[in-house]
């Protein structure tokens, strides 16, 4: 965190209201996002309790597992949720543009969950479903493994910086607003909303107190509050079990209705709050470069869609050494690009980088616009130099490649020297690109004395790193014993037994 962002949090705490951290929303927000609020049973591994799902505030569907420990009910739930999600995903697999290999879907799905815990719950659900067999013992409906694979794809994609296909709403909000509370408390959607948009008539203080009171604001999941579990849920599930055992249809439907009502009471406040958060986020203008990143999402969506259409295998349980290295390199690259994109688009983010000394801006005090050098190929090219006086605490070293949001597109430069000058610094940069092809730079491509310019490091192009083929991992990276690892579809996939009570 930079001094500037830290200061924003202090300001928020002092003024008791959220402070904007960015000018733009850097995530694409779909016109028709699908909200999923998963609830899980405490203490149980991946035992879904309920979910509310839908692509508009008015038509949320509530799915409830009456006895989460029962395997059949779990998978009936997974199939129910799976159908809704797959219908939603399939609705984006209609409109395709372009020919042959470059053909793409023009839109991509976007699933929103309330918080990082919700994302984890979907990851668990994906893992639970994707290896299920649709025939033989423990068979599940066709949609279950398909849903599992798609969920896993979306969860994997969510780790990539700048993507928008699966996001926690708390994350989107904290990217844009700083609150006067800790990161931990920011993960509570109600507490976060208390800072950004307290309910009318309430102060932030009161709204925060309400947000932590499970009777006023039930937790946004995936865990329900222990009081609710012990006071309401446990007796209701017991009633259901008894009715189930007795085979009494009236008692059973009464018990089911009671459970649904109880859970609806817990989940609906979060549902409303998520949609309120979405409309808040909609009011923030979208960053210019977000569209380019969204194209990346569409491409990834198309690729995975094609892979599924060709009957691809489910994602493996653990990455191989080479797969992991490739993925890590890709994620690092995506993060660097996302950070740079944000700073390029957004003066708030640029200021943040400046405060950390990772970017600078100031006024041109000296310029050698006519400077040229001779290249190895004996060509004379323009290499103008300018010196910028800045008050920023520049921490960039000589030879750092730069780009500039304040110059024309394609402008490139490199740092020659950074010299302290009293309370300021004089940074001399050499312009290396974006001046046209001629011997003389085009008009307006070289900053002039008195002009205000901003520079930040160029994440640059770098060649795709070469990795060995998957089956040629060096001995340092291959496991000596292959016990219990790594076939894409484990043999015992269908034989996993489940936490049935009886």
């Amino acid at each position: 965190m930079s001094t500037l962002s830290a200061l924003a949090h202090v300001q928020a705490m002092e003024s008791m209201q959220a402070v904007p951290l960015t000018e733009f929303r850097h995530r694409h927000l779909s016109a028709r996002p699908l909200v999923i609020i998963p609830l899980a049973m405490a203490g149980e591994a991946g035992a879904p309790l309920a979910a509310m799902v839908g692509s508009a505030k008015r038509n949320g569907t509530l799915l409830v597992v009456a006895q989460p420990r029962n395997r059949d009910q779990r998978f009936a739930f997974a199939a129910g949720l799976g159908r809704i999600v797959m219908d939603y995903i399939d609705s984006f697999r209609q409109d395709r543009r372009g020919e042959g290999e470059r053909s793409r879907y023009t839109d991509a799905p976007q699933i929103l969950v309330p918080n990082p815990g919700g994302l984890k719950a979907l990851a668990d659900l994906g893992r639970m479903c994707r290896f299920r067999s649709t025939s033989g013992p423990y068979a599940v409906p066709d949609v279950v493994p398909e849903f599992g694979m798609w969920l896993t794809f979306l969860v994997d994609k969510a780790e990539q910086a700048g993507t928008s296909m699966l996001l926690p709403v708390t994350g989107m909000l904290t990217e844009h607003w700083a609150t006067g509370q800790s990161t931990l408390e920011d993960q509570n959607l109600a507490s976060l909303m208390a800072w950004i948009a307290p309910p009318s008539g309430l102060s932030v203080d009161q709204a925060m107190a309400d947000a932590e009171n499970p009777d006023v604001c039930p937790p946004a999941g995936p865990s329900t509050s222990p009081e609710f579990d012990n006071r309401d849920l446990a007796p209701a599930i017991r009633k259901f079990d008894t009715a189930h055992k007795l085979g009494d249809p009236h008692a059973l439907s009464a018990a089911e209705t009671e459970l649904r009502e109880l859970i609806a009471g817990q989940i609906q406040p979060t549902w409303r709050m998520v949609w309120q958060a979405i409309s808040l986020l909609r009011s923030v203008p979208e960053a210019p470069r977000s569209a380019k990143r969204f194209e990346g999402d569409c491409k990834a969506f198309t690729d995975y869609s094609n892979y599924r259409d060709s009957g691809g295998l489910p994602q493996r349980k653990r990455d191989t050494a080479i797969g992991a290295a490739r993925r890590l390199s890709f994620l690092e690259r995506a993060l660097a690009e996302f950070e740079s994109d944000m700073a390029f688009d957004d003066r708030f983010v640029l200021a943040d980088r400046r405060s950390a000394g990772e970017a600078f801006s100031g006024t041109v005090v000296e310029a050698e616009p006519g400077r040229t050098v001779t290249t190895d190929k004996n060509r004379r090219v323009p290499r103008p130099r300018v010196t910028v006086r800045t008050e920023d605490p520049v921490r960039l070293a000589a030879d750092t490649k730069l780009i500039s949001p304040s110059m024309l597109a394609g402008h490139k430069a490199v740092i020659v020297s950074v010299l302290p000058d009293g309370d300021t610094a004089r940074v001399t940069v050499e312009i290396t690109g974006g001046m046209g092809r001629g011997r003389v730079p085009k008009q307006g491509t070289v900053p002039e004395p008195g002009q205000y310019v901003a520079y930040l490091p160029d994440p640059g192009w770098r060649p795709a790193p070469q990795f060995p083929a998957s089956d040629a991992a060096p001995w340092t990276h291959s496991a000596a014993d292959e016990v219990g690892t790594d076939s894409a579809v484990p043999e015992d996939a269908a034989a996993e037994e489940w936490g049935n009570e009886e």
């Binding site: 965190m1 930079s2 001094t3 500037l4 830290a6 200061l7 924003a8 949090h9 202090v10 300001q11 705490m13 002092e14 904007p20 960015t22 000018e23 733009f24 049973m41 405490a42 203490g43 149980e44 591994a45 991946g46 668990d124 893992r127 639970m128 844009h176 006067g180 509370q181 800790s182 990161t183 931990l184 408390e185 932590e212 499970p214 865990s223 329900t224 509050s225 222990p226 009081e227 579990d229 012990n230 849920l233 446990a234 923030v284 349980k317 653990r318 003066r347 708030f348 200021a351 400046r354 405060s355 008050e391 920023d392 605490p393 309370d423 219990g484 996993e496 037994e497 489940w498 936490g499």
Partner: protein
């Protein structure tokens, strides 16, 4: 003349019954060892939840009955039929050679479930095993005992296994899942710290009989459900670091006298309960008593300390940067309050010698912020 430390601690607790340390509260020591209030309340055996509730900041974490049921059911399943499932895990998953197996239940001694009797029985059985007599291999719920700050705390590990490479191993049975050979790091850490308390207590027990500490392994065996099933799987977890950390914390409890010496003579956290167990002490007065002790609040206290909401409200009232958590706080090394940060940022306060650099960075950041706000834009 100062009173002895124990009397002072008893006075802090007042009329309430003493709450002893257990493995859980010991493990919590590791989370925020520098907090004076916590150290005093724990060392004096005060009821933190009751105190926090009385001053209007009840703790928020209860435990769901589902989690408890699941935990118990899983443990029972692992131990059913003379630990059949556990042995399968030890032999198949962890590939241990356990030639013959004797199972000894130390849950109660001839129907006597009292801690002291159970502890004596445990001591006898484990010492016999350590000397190579007796045929026990698995000891179910032994009752261990640890002297903490001069007081006995009874601890009860799930299971202790012997003769894995000729050493005792603490077995922790937990119901959180190990999915694709990975478990949630926070939960593994909590389980390991808890097991570390058992390792220390077990070493203590053997040590008193002259048996060296190498007789107890500092690798624990974690047994937990595999993936989403009910079948257990196991893993070795290295607890060396946490055993060392906990040992260090325990030695600090011995020095709690130093902390007590800093307190006013008549300080007490007594709730003054009446005959019907209702606290009679005015909340105001208790609040004032608490306010006299230093606290080290961190947002993650909210996850494990009963006093956290009280400490947070205190930190908020003091405009302390602790409220924002270490990520923000660490940006302003040496500055404690928002008032100070804003004062330096606005140039209204004169920085001290060692605040010069921070003040310059703050003024720079404040200028940037002002520039952004002047230009309007985001609201």
């Amino acid at each position: 003349m100062r009173e002895p430390v124990d009397d002072r601690l008893a006075a802090l607790r007042g009329s309430a019954k003493r709450l002893d340390y257990n493995a859980r509260s010991l493990a919590a020591l590791e989370n925020n060892p520098r907090c004076t209030l916590r150290a005093l309340l724990d060392a004096s055996g005060s009821d933190k939840a009751a105190i926090a509730t009385h001053v209007g900041h009840p703790p928020a974490f209860g435990q769901s009955s589902f989690a408890i049921t699941r935990g118990n059911a899983f443990e029972a399943m692992v131990k059913a039929n003379g630990c059949a499932e556990l042995l399968r895990v030890l032999r198949e998953t962890l590939e241990l050679t356990l030639p013959e197996v004797g199972y000894e239940d130390l849950n109660d001694v001839g129907g006597d479930g009292r801690s002291k009797e159970r502890h004596e029985r445990t001591e006898e059985v484990l010492l016999r095993a350590a000397r190579g007599e007796g045929d026990g291999t698995l000891f179910d719920h032994p009752m261990l005992c640890l002297q903490i700050g001069g007081h006995k705390a009874y601890l009860e590990p799930d299971l202790v296994a012997f003769r894995i490479d000729g050493r005792f191993h603490v077995v922790e049975i937990k119901s959180f899942p190990i999915i694709d050979e990975q478990a949630a790091p926070a939960q593994v850490r909590a389980a390991t710290t808890q097991a570390s308390a058992y390792i220390i207590a077990l070493r203590d027990l053997l040590g008193r009989a002259g048996i060296g500490e190498e007789a107890v392994s500092d690798t624990i065996v974690l047994v937990a459900p595999k993936d989403f099933t009910n079948r257990p799987t196991g893993a070795f977890v290295d607890a060396r670091k946490q055993v060392a950390a906990l040992t260090r914390q325990l030695s600090r409890i011995e020095r709690v006298g130093d902390l007590v010496d800093l307190l006013p003579e008549d300080l007490t956290f007594d709730l003054a309960r009446d005959s019907e167990d209702r606290p009679r002490r005015p909340a105001e007065e208790l609040n004032e008593a608490l306010d006299q002790v230093l606290v080290t609040y961190r947002p993650d206290c909210l996850n494990h300390c009963e006093m956290a909401f009280y400490c947070r409200s205190r930190a908020r009232a003091e405009a302390s940067l602790d409220v924002l958590g270490p990520v923000v706080r660490d940006q302003f090394g040496g500055i404690d309050t928002t008032t100070m940060v804003m004062g330096l940022a606005r140039g209204e306060l004169t920085p001290s010698e060692d605040q010069m650099e921070m003040a310059a960075a703050l003024r720079h950041a404040a200028r940037l912020r002002a520039e952004l706000e002047d230009l309007g834009g985001a609201a």
